[in-house]
Amino acid sequence: MSWSFLLRRLLLAIPTLFGVAVIVFVLLRVVPGDPIAMLIGPGATEAGIAELRRLYGLDESIALQFVYYLQDLAGGDFGTSISMRQDVMELVLGRLPVTIELCLVAMSMAVLLGVAMALAGSYWRGRTGEAAVDGAAGFILAIPDFLWALLFILFVVVFALDGLPISGRIGHDVAFRGATGFLLVESLLRLRFDAFGSVLLHTVLPAAALALPLAAILARILKASIAEAMTQDYILMARAKGFSRARIVCREALRNALVPTVTLTGVQFTFLVGGTVLVEKIFSYPGIGNMAIDAVINRDLPLIQGLVLTFAVLFIAVNLLVDMSYALLNPRMRHG
């Protein structure tokens, strides 16, 4: 993988972000509800409303408003949150690390579980084990992430699993305030294992809810790719060399099956980012997904705008990660 590849991908992100910015701008002017009416209490004078309109630039033409909007965005100015009266950029950046860590934990869980299921199903091909794996994948896939989240909470409550927190990100009894929002990474680096354990425990259920459907998709596609790889001549060669079935599946076939799997499932990883909106809300997990729901409820247009753009950046970043892993897995691509 070369730097030019990375640079090209980053340059391609610019038109994508511009498109998202345009859509956000249009949507916010199409949806019903006057943003000024949100800001101002009942009993405002006509003069007061006109004054606010001028302040927010809403008295200008749409074209001019668009130009101002783009200027602000380019300068990193997302405006001020209406409901929280704070700079949107600051608010979003404060919560973003939470969601990033949650997504990374969820993706790792999905990959581990998905690969394990695919390997088990491939190893027991044609036997009960394969049917069990297929059945499990189908069942997991039939339930969307937010329903898994609710089911987990139900389990925890019904079976009184007090050890598993279902709300928040870190225990109230743990005195740890990170300098960054990346609590998992920071607590580990500072050797605060109590805080690390607490954050990890709080992350397990929301991450699992996000990970399960993705894991099932991964398992299905990877298993099919392994089955395809197992018909190749190099597998026959590996058998003739005297390797065991476990080694042939896990080493000879898996490595070749990963490339088509990453191509086919790459976009699924971005869906996981979208899943955080509901799942974070359900677990009161303080990330940008949770914040997005509050922003919508409060009709906090500047905040919604900032969050949508942030999600777009996250999507692009995940896509880039997937493409990079693709280049790492395929020796043919590495050599250009």
Partner: protein, 305 residues
């Protein structure tokens, strides 16, 4: 180690081997009582047209037949021991160690995800218990043996960086890596272009002479057989039609089918000769014989059930 085997004992002895592929209703017979012996150091040709069961015999010997294939009778003695019903672990200990495979298609027989060095070293580490560096230096030596230029560089390359001829050389190195007693060469030159074919054939012959291994050389090309094989078995419809010294078979074939095969083979020394397809009547006779064999062997198809 047990006592040295008597010199006259064949390295490989296939006795009345019968095999069928399980079908939806009735199994399809593929091998109909095949017998052949390969002496130590012998290069034994196995000829026949496609569908004759040549490749299947090779796969059964190596233990890599498809899972739907059932051995319904007979035995395969390797070094005097029946290997058709060995426990899996013991069988795997022989594969790659006591016997090796030179595959038909070098383009697809190397794993595209791993470097050449790793794919030679893995079999050395598995069977000979060599550590990483010892296996690496032995792999380098083997690449030199099969006349690969700049072997140090090739060790670090991926299969897609090598030509077909180079890849077949690598696979020959893999086949001979653990100094096996028997090598099954499954149409090893069919996928290569003519100039490379000759080099690869010479290489196999030289490696065989150097290592003293026996080779079962599966091919449809009698011209190749005449060049490299000591003895030949002619196969059709899963039955052995005749076996004998190559010279005798080529110069004075005993079976009509062998004669027909020779007439259908182009000759480099007489390129003007006409080629004759195998006569229809002969084919019909052979098919009838095969069916008669099945009927006699398996009244009501019970043997294969």
């Amino acid at each position: 180690m047990t006592a040295a085997p008597p010199p006259d004992r064949p390295t490989l002895s296939v006795r009345d081997l019968r095999l069928a592929i399980a079908g939806r209703r009735t199994p399809t017979p593929i091998l109909r009582g095949v017998s052949l012996d390969i002496a130590p150091g012998e290069v034994h040709g196995l000829v026949g047209e496609s569908g004759a069961g040549k490749t299947t015999i090779g796969k059964v010997i190596l233990g890599i037949q498809p899972s739907q294939a059932r051995i319904t009778g007979g035995s395969v003695l390797f070094d005097g021991r029946d290997i058709t019903h060995l426990p899996e672990r013991e069988r795997r200990g022989l594969m790659g160690r006591g016997m090796g495979l030179i595959p038909q298609d070098p383009m697809t027989s190397l794993n595209p995800a791993y470097r050449i060095g790793a794919q030679i070293a893995d079999v050395l580490r598995l069977h000979l218990g060599l550590d990483r560096s010892a296996a690496g230096s032995r792999a380098l030596e083997l690449l030199g043996d099969v006349h690969i230029r700049a072997p140090e560089r090739v060790l670090r390359q991926y299969p897609h960086e090598l030509s077909g001829g180079m890849r077949q050389r690598v696979l020959i190195a893999v086949a001979f890596a653990c100094r096996p007693k028997l090598i099954v060469a499954d149409e090893p030159t069919t996928a290569l272009d003519v100039t490379v074919q000759r080099q690869v054939l010479a290489l196999i012959k030289r490696m065989q002479a150097q290592e003293g291994a026996s080779i079962l050389f599966v091919t449809h090309d009698l011209g190749v057989v005449a060049k490299i094989c000591d003895r030949v078995t002619v196969l059709h419809g899963g039955r052995v039609l005749e076996t004998g010294d190559t010279r005798r078979i080529v110069e004075a074939p005993g079976h009509d089918y062998t004669r027909a095969l020779i007439a259908a083979t182009p000759r480099h020394d007489r390129p003007g000769d006409l080629l004759w397809p195998v006569p229809e009547a002969l084919m019909a006779r052979l098919d009838a014989e095969a069916l008669a064999y099945d009927a006699a062997r398996a009244p009501g198809g019970r043997e294969y059930g």
